[in-house]
């Protein structure tokens, strides 16, 4: 329990060990610790960024999806309208066509009737002349009675 040279021997040993620690132990350990800290911080930041990007992408996808849905319904509506229009068009065209055909038929019928009337008329005059010849037993000059015959035919 005496104070003696040991004091200074220990002082020297203390200085030496502290020096060693300061030169060779502390700096590499601190460097490694700081590097790891940086690595972890970087990794966390990276993860954060990734999450944000994912969120943005999700939002984008949602937007695009809703847009596509809207477009699809628009297209569907247009197509419906178009189809209705086409049906309407076709209907009116068909009606027109039918009317035209009907009119043509009417005209044809009328023409036929007129022609038949015409033939009938000529025949009637011929029959009337023949009938009158028989009755009168003499030839009638058709030309001299043309006026009467025409008058007759017009009455039919």
């Amino acid at each position: 329990m005496n104070i003696n040279l040991t004091l200074f021997a220990q002082l020297i040993a203390f200085v030496v060990f502290v020096f060693f620690c300061m030169k060779f132990v502390w700096p590499p350990i601190m460097a490694a610790l700081n590097e790891r800290q940086k690595k972890i911080a970087d990794g966390l930041a990276e993860a954060e960024r990734g999450m944000q990007q994912q969120e943005i992408a999700e939002k984008n996808a949602e937007k695009q999806l809703s847009e596509a849905k809207q477009q699809a319904s628009e297209i569907l509506g247009q197509a419906q309208k178009r189809a209705n229009e086409m049906v309407e068009d076709a209907k009116s065209v068909a009606i027109d066509e039918g009317n035209r055909i009907k009119e043509a038929a009417h005209a044809e019928v009328e023409k036929e009737v007129n022609r038949a009337k015409e033939t009938l008329r000529t025949q009637v005059s011929a029959i009337a002349v023949a009938g009158a010849e028989r009755i009168l037993k003499k030839e009638i000059n058709a030309n001299s009675h043309q006026e009467i015959l025409d008058d007759l035919a017009a009455q039919i």
């Binding site: 005496n2 040279l5 040991t6 200074f8 220990q10 203390f14 060990f17 502290v18 350990i29």
Partner: protein, 288 residues
């Protein structure tokens, strides 16, 4: 274990005597053969056992940490590296918490103090008779009288060791005080507080005492705690010579005290480190 011919007093005395190499009163250098001879040597003597353990444990500390530092990676740490990192982190946290100035010396200093003192304190947990007994056998093999082979294994129970470290810290305190505040500023701090310049003698006395008391209390606290712990281990060891009942009781007592002592071992190493940091921080501050 008290030996067959020596008394309890002799046994305790034997355990408290360092292995001393020094200058005998008659002028020649040699080992002291008794506590009295060691005392007579006065200042020109060195405690060989304290120095062996202190330097050996310091070397263990440097070896452990420099090996870890060499294989250190920033990737996933292994078990050993984890432990080293835990210690370094612990010290670093304390330094950052208590030391506000910028100084690259303080953190490694704190780490050295903490771990080295811890290792030296841990020697207290080795059974008190084990290593001295081995030393006695070795000494006897070399032809020395076993009763004159002294071997203390806990360096921190030697006031020289604790005062040696406290002295180093005191020198650093003075150095940084003068470096930071200048010689005049440091003197002013001692002379013009707390009573102003007309109370200079009183100021010098008060501040001088408070300055000196820092390293002294630092050294004495560590020494006192460990010395007392060692003493109790020695007293418990005395029970082993009292027959089987006392011996069994002694065994339990030793176990209990050792478990409790672990707390003191860590606490004293920690306190020594923290106070070092705080004192050096004070040396860096303009006023405290």
């Amino acid at each position: 274990m008290a030996g067959d011919t020596i008394t309890s007093t002799e046994y305790i005395q034997h355990h408290l005597t360092n292995w001393t190499y020094g200058k005998h009163p008659d002028g020649h250098w040699g080992f002291a053969h008794s506590a009295q001879e060691a005392t007579e040597m006065g200042f020109w003597a060195i405690h060989v056992d304290s120095m062996i353990w202190s330097i050996f444990l310091g070397a263990v500390f440097i070896f452990m940490f420099s090996r870890a530092a060499k294989t250190m990676t920033a990737g996933v740490p292994g078990g050993f590296q984890n432990f080293i990192e835990w210690v370094v982190d612990f010290v670093n946290e304390n330094v950052r918490g208590s030391f506000s100035a910028k100084n690259d010396l303080v953190a490694p200093l704190a780490l050295t103090i903490f771990f080295w003192v811890l290792l030296m304190n841990l020697m207290d947990l080795v059974p008190v008779d084990l290593i001295p007994r081995i030393a006695q056998e070795i000494g006897a093999a070399f032809g020395a009288d076993p009763h004159h082979v002294y071997f203390k294994v806990v360096p921190t129970t030697d006031p020289n060791i604790t005062f040696g470290m406290a002295l180093g810290i005191f020198i650093l305190m003075l150095y940084y005080s003068i470096k930071m505040k200048g010689l005049g500023g440091f003197f002013g701090e001692l002379a013009f507080q707390p009573f102003g310049k007309w109370g200079m003698p009183a100021n010098l006395l008060l501040e001088g005492i408070s300055l000196i008391s820092k390293p002294v209390s630092l050294a004495l606290r560590l020494f006192g705690n460990l010395y007392a712990g060692e003493m109790i281990f020695i007293l418990i060891a005395l029970l082993y010579s009292g027959g089987i009942i006392w011996g069994t009781l002694g065994g339990f007592l030793q176990l209990g005290w050792a478990i409790f002592h672990i707390l003191i071992i860590f606490l004293q190493a920690f306190i020594f480190m923290v106070l070092t940091i705080v004192y050096l921080d004070m040396a860096h501050q303009e006023h405290h």
